[in-house]
Subunit: 137 residues, 2 copies
DNA sequence: ATACCTGCAAAGTCTTTGCCTTAGG
DNA sequence: CCTAAGGCAAAGACTTTGCAGGTAT
């Protein structure tokens, strides 16, 4: 947590009550959070407004602390970029359930190759699996 | 094309002017199309309304003829599911340029393993790479 | 002190729906 | 004929912004 705040400071963000609260909420959640999820978080709602959350998420994404996920049929969701790699997800396309996949990223090598062959920089990727969960099958 | 229409018929869709036009437009496009892209397609606009396009896309997705792609910072886009596998994409996160990747899918095996280990069915996935293109770097 | 951050409210953008009419099989 | 599909217009859902006042540094 203190590490996250330092990263923010180093990148010129001011450490405000809102920033702390948002980082706390993201850190506490075990699944990616949408703007709406955060807005409806009771603790957070007491401390800041939707616009603040929105703009803070933007800033955090901007400095690379946050990963943006574009899941089907739900707005963007965000998860903290912890140092130790990222997770991929498996979603049920019927009930919307989100499961986390603890797998080592299968496309890292490909990503580097692409960057080189196409002259791209600052690469990232999004890999999401969809299907019907056992209950919905 | 005739093949696509047959698939539609087999799945109970009526072959209307709108359906033909939408399939044509998707078929002609070499990149995934958003609802807005289609709405603004002059040919198509003469033949059908936004609601029609929207509902037709839904139906086509429903019968598995259409793949829905959720690219960051742009609405959903759709591409026809041709028999011979699907494509993945590389997007510039600054200018929004979309490049098609002609690579054999690197996560097919993983997808099957997941289906088995987690009891999911009707699996699909979305793999998208993001980065800064040479011009935007 | 000053540049950044916040709240509020309003506007944007894209998606989805209701309802009545039209037309495919 | 009967039911799916279409058109129009309005509502929803989510995202984004302007501006005036507050706050971290």
């Amino acid at each position: 947590m203190e590490e996250l705040l330092n990263h923010c400071r180093e990148n010129g963000l001011r450490v405000t009550v809102g920033l702390r609260a948002i980082l706390d909420a993201l850190n506490a959640a075990d699944l990616p959070q949408s703007l709406l999820d955060l807005e409806q978080n009771k603790e957070l709602a007491k401390l800041c407004d939707r616009a603040t959350i929105f703009r803070t998420l933007q800033r955090l994404e901007g400095i690379g602390l946050l990963r943006r996920l574009n899941f089907s049929h739900s707005g963007a969701k965000f998860s903290l970029n912890t140092g130790d790699g990222h997770k991929e997800y498996l979603l049920c396309k019927n009930c919307g359930d989100v499961q986390t996949l603890d797998i080592s990223c299968p496309v890292h090598k490909l990503e580097r190759e692409l960057a080189e062959s196409r002259g791209f920089s600052e690469m990232s990727h999004e890999l999401t699996f969809y299907g019907l969960c056992p209950q919905c099958s």
